[in-house]
Symmetry: C2
Subunit: 402 residues, 2 copies
Amino acid sequence: MAKVAVLGYGTVGSGVVDVLDQNAAEVSGSAGEKIELKYILDLREFPGDRHESQVVHDIDIILNDPEVEVICETMGGLEPAFSFAKKALEKGKSVCTSNKELVAAHGPELVELAKKNGKSYLFEASVGGGIPLLRTINDSMKHEKIDSITGILNGTTNYILTKMDKEGMGFATVLKAAQDKGYAEKNPEADVEGYDACRKIAILASLMSGKHVNYEDIYTEGISRVSIEDFDYARCLGMSIKLLAMCKRSDSGFFTMVSPFLIPNENPLANVNGVFNAINIHSNMLGDVMFYGKGAGKNATASAVVADVIDIVKHKNQHIDVNMKAEKAILSPKDSAVRQFFVRVPSTLKEQANDIFGDTIEEVSGVNVHGEYAFITRDLSEKDFEEKLWKMDSVKGYLRIY
Amino acid sequence: MAKVAVLGYGTVGSGVVDVLDQNAAEVSGSAGEKIELKYILDLREFPGDRHESQVVHDIDIILNDPEVEVICETMGGLEPAFSFAKKALEKGKSVCTSNKELVAAHGPELVELAKKNGKSYLFEASVGGGIPLLRTINDSMKHEKIDSITGILNGTTNYILTKMDKEGMGFATVLKAAQDKGYAEKNPEADVEGYDACRKIAILASLMSGKHVNYEDIYTEGISRVSIEDFDYARCLGMSIKLLAMCKRSDSGFFTMVSPFLIPNENPLANVNGVFNAINIHSNMLGDVMFYGKGAGKNATASAVVADVIDIVKHKNQHIDVNMKAEKAILSPKDSAVRQFFVRVPSTLKEQANDIFGDTIEEVSGVNVHGEYAFITRDLSEKDFEEKLWKMDSVKGYLRIY
C-alpha cells in the first residue's frame, strides 16, 4: 500500500483523484500494490465532496506524515509549488507534477535534489497532456542520439489556426469564439503569444541536451500576426500553417525556437488539426517517430500524473533517472539558423524586393490578393533575412518555411 | 557489465549489433552499465566481419555460458527460435525478440515461463518496428482501461495502397514496382493477404486482454481485391482506403479483425501514407493517443530490440511484467459486429440492391465509373450484410467503413 497526497484540488488535481478512484484496480495492477489517496491540500473547503474529509490546508501535515510516499503537485505556478516540491524531496518524498512553468524554470534543479535524496521528480503531464512522451524519451529512446524534436505543443493555438484555415475567419474572430467555448483563456496571452509552447519545448530541449535549456533563452513568436491571406497562399503552396516549437542539435549547440511555420502537407505535422498536439522526434537509429493526442484536458493530463505515481511506486526507494542537470545547455544562436522564408510586400515594391532578395526568389502566384507581391526566398540565415527585411520600404507579412 | 548474445546475424540481428556499436555510450548511459556483445549465433561464417570472432554455430555455447544475461532472438520463424527461447529462459537468461510469428503463436507461454524463472521475455520490435509502442502500453498506459487499438501495421500494404491512390495504378502494377524496389517480398502473400498485420494485432490484442488472442482466430482480409475505382469513390466520399488491424473490447469479448476499410479523411489514420505505420489507442481517461513511425527497417527494428535489452539490464534478476497469459481470451464473434458498408453493383441491379438493402441506402454519385451503381448501407451486422450480399445476382466490390 502506497499513500499519496495531491496538492491543489483544481482541474488536474481533481482529475488525478478521479483516475485513482475510477481506475483503482488498473492502477494497483500496474503499480503492483494498492495506491491510496491520503490528503488533498487546498485553501478551499469542499463540503459534500466524497473526499471532503481528506482535505487539509497545511502543507506540513503532509510533509510530516511519514506514510505519504508520493506527492502530486497539481497547483501550477512557481510559488508556493516550488517551495513545496523542494521541501517534499528534502523530506524523502517523491514528487510528480503537471506544472510546466515550474518544470521549465526549476525542473533540472529539482531532479538533482531528488537524486541527492534518492527519490524521484517526474513531470510526464507537463508536456503534451496525456501523450506518453517524456517517459518514452527517457526510457525507450535514451539509447538513441536524438537530433531534433519538433512539435505542435499548444492545443489552443492549433485550434485557432485550424479554424482560420478551414472557415476563413480572421484571428480575432476565431479567438473570441474560442474564448466563448472555453477553449481559450480570457487572458489568452500565454497561448497565443507562444509562451506556453515555449515552456514545453524548454522542457523537451532540456531532456534532449541532458542539461538546462532556460525558456527565457528561446526565441518565441506567437500566432497573432498570421492572417487569412497567409492561409490562402498556404493552400496554393500545398502547405499548412502551424505554430511549431522545435529543438535541433547542431555542432554549435542546441537551436530552439517557437514560431508559426509553413509546413508542406506531406509532413504529418501539417495534418494535425483542432486541439490536438503532435510531437515528432528524429533520432539516429529510429528515424522519425511521431506521437499524437489531446495535449490538454482534465482526465488525460491527470492520467499522465498517475502514470508517474505508478512509476515511482514501482521504483520505491530508487531515484528514477531523468536526463537533465542544472548546468546550462549551450544554445546555438538564432541568427545563424538557415531556412527559406515566404514574404508578402505591396506589389509596388516588387522591384525593390527583387533587388534586395536577389533574382533567385520564387514568385507565389495563383492567389487573388489585390495589390500584393508574394515570394519565397532562397535559403537565408535568420540574420540575413532580418537585414534584408529592414531594407524594404514596407512588408505585409512573412512566414518561416519548415 | 552485462553480456549479450544475438541469435541470427541477418537484417535485424546485424542491426542490433550496429546499434550496440554505434550508440555504445548512449546504450550504457541508459542501462546504467556497459552492455557488451559476447556471441552471435549463425549457421554461416562471416569472414572479415568485425565481429567474426564472436560468431558461434552451437546454441549450447551460449546457453551454458553463465556470463550471458540477455539473448536477442532475431532469427524469425517458429523453430528453432521457440526451442532456443524456452531453453534460454529455463537457463535463467532473459530473452528479447523481433519475431512476431513466434510471439503471436507462443508469446504468452514464453512470458509465463520467464515469470516462473524470474527473468523477462520482451518483444517491443515485434509490432510497429521501432515505434515505442508495447512498452508504452505495458508501462505508461497500464492504469488505463483500453477500449480499442486500431492500426496500420503493415508498411508494404500501406505503400501499395498509397501508390494506388496517388498515382492511379492498379494493385498488380504497384505490387510489381514495390517488389522491384525491395519494398515487397518476392512472395508477397504474408503482407498483401494481411497475415503479417494479423500476427501484430494478435500480439496487441493479447496485451489488451491480458490473455492470449490466437492469430488463427482473427478474421483477416488482405488488399488484393481493392481496385482503382474504389479509390475514385473514396476521394469522392472524402475518405481514404487503409488496411486496418483492430481490436475492440465489448461486453461479449474482444472483437478483432484485419481488413481494408474506408476511413474519413478527418481521422488521422487516413493521412498515414507510404511505408509508415500508425497505431491509435483509445482508453477511458486518456482518450485517443496515436503513435506514428516507420514500422520496419533494419535500424529502427534493431533499436527497439536494444530498448528491450536495456530494460532487462535495468531490471536485473527481476521479471518485467507483461500483461498476457497463456489462457485463451474470449473473442466476440465477427458476425455480430455492426458497421456501414460501401457496395458497388452493376447499374442493372439498382432495383435489386434497393430491394435487398432497403430504402435507407445512400447512393454514391459523382464518380465516373460506367455501368455501376454504388451505395452505402445503413448500419448492418457482418452477418446481415453477408446474407444480403449472397442474395445479389452480382457484386463488383465492397468495403467496410470505419
